[in-house]
């Protein structure tokens, strides 16, 4: 499940059992994540009536899909040891700009493409300017987020009586993508779930089989060693931020079907939940380990957990507190920082 490009060497000689243990050791975060996921589902089926149902599974997958799509960029930035705090703002900006563009008479599909492209550009710009900052790069992304969402809100408010949010007729097909009763070629699956699966498969394939994917892990492991292999840190840094911006914009436009209108705060929950999904999945924020496969597990764990807690009658507030408490033990399991004694 993990997307670390630790290619299995073709001629493995170890006996099957040793191989299994070996694999578990190498993919400990994923194993823990999947174990947690299974445990949560079992608990849900025991504690919450109706937890194991097509309806509930569809709901969980739909919510996890948005979180998963929004977390893709965050995962890649985290692999390089950074954090992108502009994600919620870019989501919000795309979410209000799309209906605003539709209101000008532009076809929705074209508007979506333009916005995803704009997201890529904004992300790349963020990456270019934050590259030199290293430790403070996340603050740069925050500043970028503020600027982008502020600009988008001013743009959409110009000539409109509504400030910030945008009202517009949303095409039925776009609503269908994100709706619970959405249908994918007649199947009762909201298309956004299919989109998420497709994005996941493509991402895992690309990371495993392209120079870019390998560059990510090489840079996360050791910047200098990577530069000796002619891996450009700048280009990769730029690329992951561009991807993050593009995916945020993509999530933002897809969420329009969910929100029914441009709603700038639709991205707000993703400020920290994307980080939580990345961390719970097992990608170390110190760079190097983990990957999008881990984040997919993390997003599912978070969503199943939320659903379980709601089913057990917990308020939104209590859910948030529980998720907050969960993060430290999860990170302590697989991303403890080394003791200072061992760093001298």
């Amino acid at each position: 499940m993990t997307s670390t490009p630790n290619t299995t060497f073709p001629r493995m000689k170890a006996p099957a059992r040793g191989r299994m243990l070996q694999w578990i050791r190498c993919n400990r975060p994923s194993v823990i994540g999947v174990g947690l996921l299974v445990a949560l589902v079992v608990m849900g089926s025991l504690l919450v009536p109706g937890f194991i149902s097509v309806q509930n599974a569809r709901s969980i997958l739909l919510l996890a899909a948005f979180l998963g799509l929004a977390s893709l960029g965050q995962t890649m930035v985290a692999l390089l040891g950074g954090l992108d705090l502009s994600i919620p703002y870019v989501i919000g900006a795309a979410n209000i700009l799309l209906p605003s563009l539709i209101n000008t008479g532009m076809p929705a599909g074209l508007a979506m493409a333009i916005l995803v492209l704009a997201g890529l550009v904004v992300g790349a710009l963020n990456g270019a300017l934050s590259y030199k900052l290293q430790g403070q790069a996340l603050i740069m992304s925050l500043g970028f987020g503020f600027a982008v969402v502020g600009a988008a809100q001013i743009y959409t408010t110009l000539g409109s009586a509504v400030g910030g949010n945008v009202f517009a007729p949303i095409p039925a097909w776009l609503t269908n993508i994100a709706a619970f009763n959405g249908r994918f070629f007649g199947l009762p699956i909201p298309p956004v779930i299919v989109i998420w699966i497709a994005v996941t498969v493509v991402t895992l394939f690309i990371v495993r089989n392209t120079w870019f994917g390998h560059s990510l892990y090489a840079l996360g492991g050791s910047r200098v060693a990577a530069s000796r292999l002619l891996i450009s840190e700048f280009r990769t840094w730029l690329a992951v931020h561009a991807i993050s911006g593009g995916m945020s914009a993509f999530t933002g436009v897809l969420l329009l079907g969910f929100s029914g209108g441009g709603y700038v705060a639709v991205g707000d929950p993703y400020l920290f939940t994307t980080v939580a999904a990345v961390v719970i999945g097992g990608t170390s924020l110190l760079g190097g380990g983990g990957g999008y496969g881990s984040t997919v597990i993390g997003a599912l764990v978070l969503t199943v957990l939320t659903s379980l807690l709601v089913g057990m009658g917990m308020s939104f507030a209590a859910q948030q507190a529980v998720v907050g408490l969960l993060i430290i033990p999860m990170v302590a399991l697989y991303a403890r920082t080394p003791h200072i004694r061992s760093q001298i």
Binding site: L83, L129, S130, K132, L133, Q134, G135, Q136, I139, M140, L142, G143, F144, G145, F146, A147, V148, V149, G150, A151, Q153, I154, T157, G163, G164, F272, V275, A276, V279, L285, L286, S315, F316, A317, A318, Q319, Q320, A321, V322, V323, G324, L325, I327, I328, V331, A332, A335, R336, T337, P338, H339, I340, Q343, I344
Partner: protein
């Protein structure tokens, strides 16, 4: 002939304050032109009242950030909110309203929670940014559980604080108390330990600095300042609010960066933080004079974003030649 050496070394040590000071002067001049009302006694009083929680929250972040390891405290806003709602809901709700109780509670809760975070960072050895992220989510949830919606009342003696009609006000005294705590702290050797730990933890550790105590101390100090910030915030809104205090996190981080502190540790101080917070206040004050109407909220946001970006870039330009010289 005048000996310029001490002056030069002072300049060198405070290079990071150039940008915030310059920005502060520009903003003051602009404010004087656009809104002379700010420079009346009630204008200043209002400014103190509104800016005090942010100034103190930014100061609270300062020692924690100075301790290094990229430990910017994301939980500062929700912790401020936690103190705010517990003050209103638990203390005032149970009739404990004496100033001594209120201050003791605010300082104790702030310090205790921060020390807890420090202990997790030290002994569980999880990166500070993750510990505080976890705290952010946890406290945001807990605040809503304690107080599902804004409301409640503050103690009788505090209701007058929010008036902000004269410069010499209780809020000013709390602010001065915060600065005094900071001043005392910088006179101690602990301040040097903190700077050295933040600048190079391995060096400090091997040189015999008790780095764990320093980290705990930094959080303790930060926690006490959060407590004072929470009192000023509570006085400002005269009620409890489980949600809004959360926004102080991003504001304080922005102010901290505007004040020239380095998030990688070792560099920072009260002057920079106070300047950063004041600059934030002045920016929003100035923007409000332009009658942006419905845009005012958005204009503020975009300005903060752009100024943050520019300020970071200027910091890079200032420090870049030095880094090259080091190599």
């Amino acid at each position: 002939m005048i000996d310029t050496k001490p002056f030069r070394s002072l300049m060198r040590r405070n290079e990071h304050l150039f940008v915030p000071i310059a920005l502060f002067i520009v903003l003051l001049v602009a404010a004087a032109l656009r809104s002379p009302g700010l420079f009346t006694s009630s204008g200043v009083a209002g400014a103190i009242l509104v800016a005090a929680p942010l100034i103190l929250a930014t100061m609270a972040l300062t020692p924690i950030v100075m301790a290094g390891r990229g430990s910017v405290d994301l939980a500062v806003g929700p912790l401020l909110g936690f103190i705010n709602v517990t003050l209103v809901q638990w203390l005032v709700g149970s009739g404990w309203t004496s100033p001594v109780t209120i201050f003791a509670w605010a300082l104790f809760v702030g310090a205790a929670y921060q020390v807890l975070q420090a202990l997790v960072i030290i002994y569980v050895r999880v990166a500070p940014v993750i510990v505080t992220l976890s705290s952010y989510l946890f406290l945001t949830g807990v605040n809503l559980m304690i107080m599902p919606r804004a409301g409640g009342v503050v103690p009788e003696w505090m209701t007058k604080w929010g008036a902000g009609t004269s410069i010499i006000s209780p809020v000013l005294f709390v602010l001065i108390a915060g600065l005094a705590i900071w001043f005392v702290f910088t006179r101690t050797a602990f301040h040097i330990h903190l700077r050295m730990t933040g600048a190079d933890e391995r060096m400090a550790y091997t040189s015999g600095v008790r780095t764990n105590w320093v980290r705990i101390g930094a959080h303790l100090l930060g926690g006490m300042l959060v407590g004072l910030a929470a009192i000023c915030h509570t006085a400002l809104i005269s009620s409890g609010d489980p949600v809004q205090a959360g926004t102080y996190t991003l504001q304080a981080i922005t102010a901290l960066v505007l004040g020239g502190a380095s998030l990688s540790g070792g560099r920072g101080g009260a002057i920079g933080s106070v300047l950063g917070a004041l600059n934030m206040f002045l920016i929003s004050h100035l923007l409000a004079t332009f009658n942006f109407g419905m845009f005012s909220g958005f204009a503020t946001q975009i300005s903060f974003g752009l100024i943050l970006i520019i300020s970071l870039l200027i910091n890079v330009l200032l420090t870049a030649p030095k880094i090259q010289a080091m190599r």
